[in-house]
């Protein structure tokens, strides 16, 4: 049957270069445009800031730092510090954290077959918050806030996973319930720490919970970039499988994909990049929930395209929000506040205008 059908088809389509009505070119073009927008946004964000430095100076400094000689002696030292040691790592961190949260949001939504899931659903954020709060309140025991946050984020997710695992299977509903249970326990623990903490620690905990890039350094960038990029590549490779998984476990199996194994890998990697991002910059809401939706509106639900474009949109969104956070007022606004204030009305708009087609 197929030989016959294919034969007539090839003859019919001889003149067509691509399969008619099935071209992915438009989507590839949009991916390229998004990448260009992200680079432009980053370039623009580098020039903006509380301390006014001209466009030319900014890029001269960056080029001098990038050049092999690394000769920055004839530049203004203050400029060099602001641009190379403060703004650039901060912009890079915003991109990579945005990409990590948005990617893992897309992966979680696909795996859990639910467009309202966000990366924090399995308790990552509450675990990280507890870890960070411990690090803030007991700095002599937990010497690094970031490492402590990461460890407790991992503990929270592993605990949620163990709660959900029954008879060799991990049903999605119990996994989400497990995440909610563990999340609420850790939130309660954070409240205890807040209640007992002294004023300065309390203030620091509250700031951490709102998320922000204030302390971004090259060290953070060097740790987080390779982890997130590698995980991102693997997740992107799973894009097509994620399409199949979102149809349900049995269908995935009938189409030749081991649902337990694939989901395990996807959820583990998505959780890893979320935990890394959260433990570095605190809890930034909305990016993971919103960017995959925005992407599906532009490119459709095929995860081979949703994952990279969500990542780039996440990067763009956090660059914009963080630039606003550090330039709107004389003191900094925690970026989590801005992402929420911009994000909530957007989701409201989505639900009202495209709710039926997006959420089915």
């Amino acid at each position: 049957m197929f030989k016959r059908l294919k034969h007539t088809n090839i003859l019919e389509r001889m003149n067509n270069h691509d399969v008619k009505g099935f071209s992915d070119m438009r989507k590839f073009v949009i991916l390229c445009i998004l990448f260009a927008v992200m680079v432009l946004a980053a370039a623009f964000a580098m020039v903006l800031g509380a301390y006014n430095i001209s466009f030319v100076d900014v890029y001269a400094t960056i080029i001098a730092n990038l050049s092999p000689l690394h000769d920055v002696s004839n530049f203004n030292k203050l400029h060099n510090t602001i641009i190379w040691d403060i703004r650039l790592p901060r912009v890079l961190l915003a991109i990579i954290v945005g990409a990590a949260l948005a990617t893992s949001g897309a992966v979680f939504q696909g795996c859990f077959r639910n467009p309202l899931v966000e990366p924090y659903i399995l308790g990552v954020s509450s675990g990280a918050a507890f870890g960070a709060a411990l690090g803030i309140v007991y700095p002599h025991i937990f010497f690094s806030i970031q490492i402590s946050a990461f460890i407790f984020a991992s503990i929270a997710v592993i605990a949620a996973y163990m709660l959900a695992r029954t008879r060799g299977q991990t049903p999605i509903v119990t996994l989400i319930l497990g995440g909610i249970i563990i999340g609420s326990i850790f939130s309660a623990l954070v409240s205890i720490l807040k209640y007992t903490a002294n004023d300065s620690s309390l203030r620091e905990i509250v700031f951490w919970l709102m998320g922000g890039f204030y302390y971004a350094t090259w060290d953070d960038v060097v740790i987080i970039v390779p982890i997130v990029s590698l995980s991102f590549l693997v997740l992107w490779m799973y894009g097509w499988k994620l399409n199949i998984l979102s149809m349900g476990d049995e269908e995935a199996q009938a189409l030749g994909i081991n649902p337990e194994k694939s989901k395990m890998i996807l959820v583990a990697l998505a959780t890893l990049i979320t935990a890394v991002a959260v433990s570095t910059v605190g809890i930034i809401a909305w990016v993971g929930l919103m960017m995959p939706h925005a992407t599906r509106m532009i490119l459709g639900p095929d995860h081979r395209f949703v994952i990279p474009s969500a990542a780039m949109l996440g990067g763009i969104y956090l660059i914009i929000c963080d630039t606003m956070a550090r330039t709107l007022t004389t003191s900094e606004i925690p970026v989590g506040i801005i992402t929420s204030i911009l994000g909530a009305p957007y989701l409201f708009y989505l639900l009202r205008s495209k709710g039926s087609s997006l959420i089915g």
Binding site: M1, F22, R113, W240, E250, A254, G300, P301
Partner: protein, 273 residues
């Protein structure tokens, strides 16, 4: 004839609750075989055992000469396709994308989908006469259309065997007939089909072979004319059905309706006098 599917002595229980006991049947290549039985008799469970969604405790399933226990999930998908009862996925995939998903077992590489795969997906849509749906979001179609898309996906999967779980249960009369006619068309291409159904008329009219099951297991199998008889129907439905023949087409009627109809005709005949 070559046996495409051999099910031998399957036993399955959920905990202490025995669902399947001593189930054996086989299907020859190129047949449209109906699996017929009342609600709750274990048709779907049997399907899931055959698809390896559930692990059965005893017995064996042999597809195209190979025991499915020896197959990996990836290999199974090249032998048998599964058409679930229609459902809505959470994301608005386009129909052509859903059909393209049928090519998954044959894909490789990073982006995977090749030109030939896209063509096969489009061909499957053409075969089912639903090319016009290609650009529409799958989750906004009607139930009947979705069922057809899932069948197209199974055809794009290019397997020798297709399983359908109650393909017509949620559909109106015209769509039910369309689906069954279509399944006949697919079977004539040499693909073996096993479809479960709880409508005795459908299996009698459209299937080459029927396997009848009730809570005690398989009670009969063979050509529909031999298998769907009043005796068998009485056994599964407790004396509810009457088998009639209308222009040589077998019809299964509820006994009450058949009796009432006969009385009505008698009174009608008497009335003019």
């Amino acid at each position: 004839m070559i046996l495409m599917l051999q099910v031998e002595d399957i036993h399955f229980n959920y905990g202490k609750n025995q669902i399947l006991k001593n189930i054996s049947f086989d299907v020859e290549e190129g047949l449209l075989c109906g699996l017929f039985g009342p609600n709750g008799c274990g048709k779907t469970t049997l399907f899931k055992c055959c698809m390896k969604f559930l692990k059965f405790h005893k017995g064996s399933v042999i597809m195209d000469g190979i025991d499915i226990k020896k197959h990996r999930i990836e290999d199974m998908a090249k032998v048998v396709a599964y058409v679930p009862q229609e459902h809505k996925p959470p994301f608005p995939y386009l129909v052509k994308e859903v059909v393209l998903m049928g090519r998954t077992p044959h894909l490789g590489g990073f982006f995977g989908v090749k030109r030939a795969d896209k063509e096969k997906a489009l061909n499957a849509l053409e075969l089912l006469d639903i090319s016009h749906l290609g650009e529409q979001p799958y989750n906004q179609l009607s139930g009947g259309q979705r069922q057809m898309v899932l069948i197209a996906r199974a055809i794009a999967q290019e397997t020798k065997l297709i399983f359908l779980d109650e393909p017509t249960s949620a559909l109106d009369f015209s769509n039910q007939m369309r689906i069954w006619t279509l399944l006949r068309k697919v079977a004539e291409q040499g693909i073996t089909i096993l479809a479960c159904s709880h409508d005795p008329n459908h299996v009698t009219w459209f299937c080459d072979k029927v396997v009848v099951m009730n809570n005690n297991g398989i009670i009969s199998q063979g050509a529909p004319n031999h298998v769907i008889t009043e005796t068998i129907l009485d056994e599964i439905y407790q004396n509810m059905c009457t088998v009639r023949s209308l222009d040589n087409v077998k019809m299964i009627l509820p006994r009450d309706v058949a009796v009432k109809k006969r009385l009505d005709t008698k009174t009608d005949a008497r009335a003019p006098n």
